[in-house]
C-alpha cells in the first residue's frame, strides 16, 4: 500500500445516513470522495461505454463470422418451419377434411405428414443451433476471459492500486458469470422470440388483415407497458447491482480478515451489517419481481383480450363466409405463439441487462491503456547481459498525480556488478527508482538504459530474464513450496530448487514441513510465517539467475539469524550481479558497494558505506547512530 494524498476535492459521494430506525445505518462505511457507484452503474455517461461494448462484441465475433452466419440461417429456417405448422393445420382442416370427405385422403395425409416433418425439422434445427451457438458463445467467453486476464497482467501497478483487486476479480468472475448466464439462459430465446414475433406479425396480416388490425391495436398498450417496465426494472436492477457489490465486499473482507473478526468479537456487528446489506439487496430484487408481476400480468390480460376480440370478430367473419374456419384456427394458434415469447423476453430482460452492464465494465478495463507498451521492434539485450544500469536525465511523475514530480532530472550510472543501496525516508523516491529500473513505469522524460539499451526497446520477456525484483510482500501461489520456488525458473529440476532454497537458508524449515518441498502452502501461504515466505521469494530469485536484482525491503520480516544467513547468501549471490537494494535496516545496507541517500527525489549523499560513515553530520551517519541506539 502506498500513501495517497488525502483527496480533499469533491464532496462526499454518500450523504451521511441518518439513523432512522434501521438496525444498521449506513454510517459504518464512512465517507470517500469517489464512491463505488461509478463502477456499479451503467450510467447515462455510459453511452461511450456502450459503444465500446458493442465494438468488443464485434471483435469477439469476428473469428466466428462463418459459424454465426450458419447459426443465423439455422435460427431463421427453424422459425419458418415452426411458423409453417399452423398453416399446415389450417390446410388440413380447410382443404384436407373436405377432400377426405369427398373420398380423396391425399391432401389431408400430406398436410399431416408435412406438419410432422416440419416439426421434426424445426426441432433438429433448434438442436443444431443450440450446439453451434453454444460453441460460439463459449469460445468467445474463453477468448474474453483470456483477454481480460492478459490485459490485467499488463496494466501498470498504479492501475491495480487504484482499481483494487476486488474489482478486477469481479470483472473476471461475476461479470463473466453474467455473460455465461445470458448464453445459457437464452440468447437463443431472445433472438428466437424476436424472430417469431416478427414472423407471426407478417403471417397474421397475410392470413386476415381485418383480424390482424385487432391484434395490432393491442400493440399500442403493449408498447407503452413495455417502456414503463424497462424503466422500472432498469432502476431496480441498478439498485440490485449496487447492493450486491457492497455485500460482496463485506463478505470477502470478513472472510479474509477472519482473525480480526473473531479476536475482536465482531461477529454480531458484522452479521448486523450483512443483514442490512442483504436486506437492501433482497428489497431491490423483490421490487424488480413486483414490477415484472404487474408487467407480465397486464401483458397476459392484453393478450387474452385480443384473443376474445379475434374470436368474436373471426366467428362473425367465418359465419359470413369471409374467412375459412381453418384460417381462424391458425390465427388463434399464432396469437398464442405471439404472446408466449413476449413473456419469455421479460424473463430474459434481467439476464440481458446484467450481461450488458458486465460487458460494459469489462470493455472499460480492456480499453485502459497499458502503461508500458511492448516495443514494435524490440532490441535484444546483449547475451550474456552484463547489467550496467543508467538513468539518463530521468524525470518522473505518477499519472494519477501528474502535478507532483517524484524525480526531477535524475542522473545515475550503476556499473555492471555493483551493489547499490538506496536509503532515505518514505517518499524520497527509492521505490520509484526501483520501479523505473524494472520498467513498471516508463519515465516521463529521459531514459533508463540497461547495457546501453533503452528499456522501452526491450521485449518484456527479455527484460524479465535479465532483471528480477523482490518486494517486501512475499506472495505465495496455490501449490507446493517447490512450485512456488520454481516460479523463479519454470522447469527447474528438484535439485536446482533445493539448492536455491539451501543457498538462502530456507532448506531446513522446508524440510521440516510435513511433506517437505511437496507441502501444499495452502491459501496465501497461511501455513508459513512472514519470514519464511520472504525466504521462499528470495529462493525464487536465486533460481531465476538474473543479471540485475532489485530488492525492495525484501528481508524485513526475517529474524536476525535468518537475515544474517540471507545476507551472507546475498553477498555470494550478488557478487557478480548488479543489485539495487532498498532497505531500512542498515545491516542490509552495509553489504553494498555503494550507498545513495535520497531526499525528495535527489541524491544527497553518494559513496561507499565506510566513506559515508566518516562524514560528520551526514544523513547516513545519523541513520547509523539511530540504528546503533536501537540495539542497546
Amino acid at each position: 500500500m502506498t500513501t495517497s494524498e488525502p483527496r480533499t476535492t469533491g464532496t462526499a459521494g454518500t450523504a451521511r445516513a441518518t439513523d432512522t430506525g434501521e438496525d444498521v445505518a449506513d454510517t459504518w462505511r464512512g465517507l470517500a470522495a469517489e464512491d463505488d457507484e461509478a463502477d456499479v452503474l451503467p450510467t447515462r455517461a455510459g453511452l461511450a461505454l456502450q459503444r465500446r461494448a458493442r465494438a468488443l462484441v464485434a471483435d469477439l465475433a469476428r473469428p466466428h463470422r462463418r459459424a454465426l452466419v450458419v447459426a443465423a440461417v439455422l435460427l431463421v429456417v427453424e422459425n419458418v418451419a415452426m411458423l409453417a405448422g399452423p398453416l399446415l393445420i389450417a390446410t388440413a382442416i380447410d382443404v384436407g377434411v373436405p377432400a377426405a370427405l369427398a373420398g380423396r385422403p391425399g391432401p389431408l395425409a400430406w398436410s399431416i405428414v408435412g406438419y410432422a416433418g416440419v416439426g421434426l425439422a424445426a426441432a433438429l434445427l433448434r438442436a443444431g443451433f443450440l450446439v453451434l451457438s453454444g460453441r460460439i458463445g463459449q469460445d468467445a467467453l474463453l477468448d474474453l476471459r483470456g483477454r481480460v486476464l492478459t490485459h490485467g497482467q499488463r496494466l501498470p501497478l498504479d492501475f491495480h492500486e487504484s482499481y483494487t483487486s476486488g474489482r478486477l476479480i469481479s470483472r473476471l468472475t461475476s461479470d463473466m458469470d453474467s455473460l455465461n448466464d445470458l448464453l445459457e439462459k437464452g440468447l437463443e430465446g431472445l433472438l428466437g422470440a424476436l424472430l417469431s414475433i416478427g414472423g407471426i406479425a407478417v403471417l397474421l396480416v397475410w392470413l386476415d388483415p381485418v383480424l390482424a388490425a385487432v391484434v395490432i391495436g393491442g400493440f399500442v398498450p403493449l408498447v407503452v407497458l413495455t417502456r414503463w417496465f424497462q424503466r422500472r426494472s432498469r432502476a431496480s436492477y441498478r439498485r440490485t447491482r449496487t447492493s450486491v457489490a457492497r455485500l460482496i465486499v463485506h463478505f470477502v473482507e470478513s472472510m479474509n480478515g477472519i482473525r480480526a473478526v473473531q479476536a475482536f468479537r465482531r461477529e454480531r456487528r458484522s452479521e448486523q451489517i450483512m443483514r442490512g446489506l442483504g436486506g437492501a439487496y433482497r428489497d431491490a430484487n423483490a421490487e424488480a419481481f413486483v414490477a415484472a408481476a404487474w408487467y407480465l400480468g397486464t401483458l397476459r390480460a392484453v393478450g387474452n383480450l385480443t384473443l376474445a376480440a379475434v374470436l368474436l370478430l373471426g366467428a362473425v367473419r367465418v359465419a359470413d363466409g369471409a374467412l375459412a374456419l381453418g384460417s381462424l384456427t391458425a390465427f388463434l394458434l399464432y396469437l398464442r405463439r405471439f404472446y408466449d415469447p413476449l413473456d419469455q423476453l421479460a424473463q430474459f430482460f434481467n439476464s440481458y441487462q446484467s450481461a450488458a452492464a458486465a460487458l460494459e465494465k469489462i470493455a472499460s478495463v480492456l480499453d485502459t491503456p497499458i502503461g508500458v507498451p511492448e516495443p514494435a521492434a524490440p532490441v535484444a539485450l546483449p547475451r550474456p547481459t552484463r547489467g550496467a544500469l543508467e538513468f539518463d536525465h530521468v524525470v518522473f511523475a505518477y499519472r494519477r498525480a501528474a502535478d507532483r514530480t517524484v524525480l526531477p532530472e535524475f542522473d545515475l550510472s550503476i556499473p555492471a556488478g555493483q551493489t547499490l543501496a538506496l536509503v532515505g525516508a518514505t517518499g524520497a523516491g527509492k521505490s520509484t527508482l526501483a520501479k523505473l529500473a524494472a520498467r513498471y513505469y516508463d519515465p516521463t522524460g529521459g531514459a533508463v538504459r540497461l547495457d546501453g539499451v533503452d528499456l522501452r526497446d526491450v521485449a518484456d520477456a527479455d527484460l524479465r530474464r535479465a532483471m528480477v525484483m523482490v518486494t517486501q510482500e512475499a506472495f505465495l501461489f496455490s501449490g507446493t513450496v517447490a512450485d512456488n520456488i520454481a516460479m523463479g525458473r519454470p522447469g527447474a529440476s528438484r535439485e536446482e530448487v533445493v539448492a536455491a532454497a539451501d543457498l538462502v537458508g530456507a532448506r531446513a524449515f522446508v524440510e521440516a514441513l510435513p511433506e517437505g518441498f511437496d507441502t501444499d502452502v495452502r491459501k496465501r501461504g497461511g501455513r508459513l510465517s512472514a519470514g519464511q515466505r520472504q525466504l521462499v521469494s528470495l529462493a525464487r530469485v536465486v533460481l531465476a539467475d538474473p543479471a540485475v536484482v532489485l530488492l525492495d525491503e525484501a528481508t524485513s520480516s526475517l529474524d536476525i539469524p535468518s537475515e544474517r544467513a540471507v545476507q551472507a547468501a546475498l553477498e555470494t549471490v550478488l557478487a557478480d550481479r548488479t543489485a539495487l537494494i532498498i532497505a531500512h535496516r542498515l545491516s542490509t545496507v552495509l553489504i553494498a558497494d555503494r550507498v545513495l541517500v535520497l531526499e525528495d527525489g535527489r541524491v544527497v549523499q553518494d559513496g561507499s558505506p565506510d566513506e559515508l560513515l566518516t562524514v560528520e553530520g551526514g544523513e547516513f551517519a545519523a541513520l547509523h547512530t539511530a540504528w546503533r541506539d536501537a540495539l542497546t
Binding site: 464512512g30 424445426a122 470478513s254 362473425v316 512472514a530 519464511q532 525491503e553
Partner: protein, 595 residues
Amino acid sequence: MSAPTSDPDPPRRATLGSLRRLAPYAAPHRVRLIVGGLAALLASLVGLGAPLLIGAVVDGPIARGELGSLPWLVLGVLALGLVEAVLITLRRLLVAHPANAIEAAMRDDLFAHLQRLPVAFHDRWASGQLLSRATTDLTTIRWLFAFSGLFLVINVITLVVGIGVLAWLSPLLGAVVAAVGLPLAGLTLALERRYSTQARTAQDRAGDLATVVEESALGIRVLKALGRSRELIARFLADARRLRGTELAKVRIMAALWLLLITLPELAIAAVVAVGTAGVAAGSLTLGTVVAAITVLTYLIWPVASIGWLLAEASNAATANARYWEVRDIPPSIVDPPHPRELPTPVRGEVALRGVRFAYEGAEHEVLRGVDLTIRPGETMALVGATGSGKTTLTALVARLQDVTAGSVTVDGVDVRDLRLAGLRTAVASAFEDPVLISASVRENVTLGSPGLPDDAVWEALRVASADGFVAGLPWGLDTRIGEQGMSLSGGQRQRLALARAVVGRPPVLVLDDPLSALDVHTEAEVEAALRRVLGGVTALVAAHRPSTVQLADRVAMLAGGRIVAVGTHHHLLATEPAYRALLSTPDERTQVQA
C-alpha cells in the same frame, strides 16, 4: 489448490430430493408460497378452459351459422382470460417477497456460520469458493422458489390435467397423446441426471478458475517482478478451457433435451390431427372437438418444452443447495463450553501455558511440544524464536483462534476452553502481523466488535496508539472510509490503527504478533513509541524478532524446538544464553568493529 477440489471424495451429484433441507427456510413463508402455487395452478387450468370454449364456438355459432350464443361464449373466453391474467399477477406478487427473503435468510445464516468456523477452516478454503456459495448458488435457489420449482410442479400437473381434458374430449385423442408423453418423461429424466453431474463439475471448475483469478490480481507484484504472467495466463487458460468443455457438455445435453421436448409434442399434434380429421371424415368426431383438442395441445407445448430447462434449473439448484450445506454442515470446532466458568472481576491478567502442544490439522509434525510459560499480571513478555519456530501459532492459542492439541492455556487460573468466547476475547485483545483493514470508516475499523463506543473512547485509543494525528488530518476524520474501497494508508499508519483497535476496549491482556515487522526505521520509531504506551498496565505477550521490540518487554521467553528454552530479562539472556545472543545480537560484525 483449494480444499473443495482436492477433496478425495467430493459429492458428485445432488439429487432433487436433497432440496428437502430447504423446508425450514420456506416454512415461515408457506402461506404465501402455497397460495401462490395454487394461483399458478389455477391460472394454468383456467388457461386450458379457453380452448374448450373455442371448440364450442366452432361447433355452435360457426357450424350452425347462428350467432345468438356467440357473445356469451366470447364473454366466457374473455372472463377466463382476465381471471388467468389476475391469477398470474397474483402468483408473482405473492412469491416476490418469499423467494428473496429465503435467499437473504440463507445468506445470513451461512455468513454467521462461516464467521464461527475456526481460522484453520479459513486457511483451507479460498474466499472465492465461499463467496460463490453466498452469491451465485443462493441466486439459483432464489429462482427455484420464485420460478423453476413452482413451475416444475405446476407444469406437470397442467400436463396431466391437459391430457385428462383431451381424454374427456375424445378418449382416442387422449390415448394418442399419452402414448407420446410417457417415453418423453423417461428420456427427460435420464438426461436430467446427466445434466446435473455436469452442472456440479461446471460449478467446481468455475470455483477453481476464480482461485487463479484471485491470485492473478493479488499476486500481481510478484508476477510482474518475476515476469511470470505468461505461466499464470497459461494455467488460467487451461482451466478456462476445461470449464468451456464442461459448459459445452451441458449445452449438448440441453440440445438433446430440446430436440426431444419439441419433436414429441409436434408429433403428438400431427397424430391428433391425423386421428381427429380421420374421425371427422368418418363422422365420429366433430370439427369443433378437433379444433379444441389442437388448441389444448398447443397450450401444453409450453409446459412440456419448459420442463427441460426447469429440470436443468432445479438440478442446478440442487447442486447449489448441496454446495451450500457442504459448508453449513461443518461444525464449528471452537465454541462456547456447555458449562462456562467466569473470570474473576476485576481480571488480574495472569496468563499461563501448561504443557501446551499443537499440531496443524493433518500434520504429523508438532509445532509446539510442551510449552510451559507464565506471564504475571501486568507484565510484558516478549516471545522470540527463529523464523517459523511457532511464535504466531502460540499467540493464536490465548484468544482461542486455535485450540491446543494437548495441555492448557489459562487466564487467571481458568482454562480458556471453560470460558465463554465473548468473555475471553473481551479480556484478551490481539493485533496481528498483517493489520487487516476493512473498507469502512476509521471509527468502524477501530471499534470493530464494540460498535457504539463513544468517540471520546475512540480518540483516546487513537492517542495511545499515536494515530490521532494522522486520523485528525483525514478529510472526514473518524468518518473517513479507509481500506481497499477507501483511502489507502501507509504500513505504519495501518499498524498503529491495529494497535488502537487492540486497546480501545481496555483489555487486561494483550497478545501482539510482531507489530513492528515490515516497518521502516522512521515508522518503526513512531509505532514503538505507541507500543510503549499501549503496554503500560496490561499483561502482554508480544511476539518479536527485533531487539528494539524486545526491549519494551519486562522479560523475554525464547521458543525453540517447540519448547520455551529460556526465560529472563533481555540483558540476562544476552549474557547467559549463546542461542539467544545468536538470535538477537548485531547481525553484522563489521559494524561492531567500527563501533
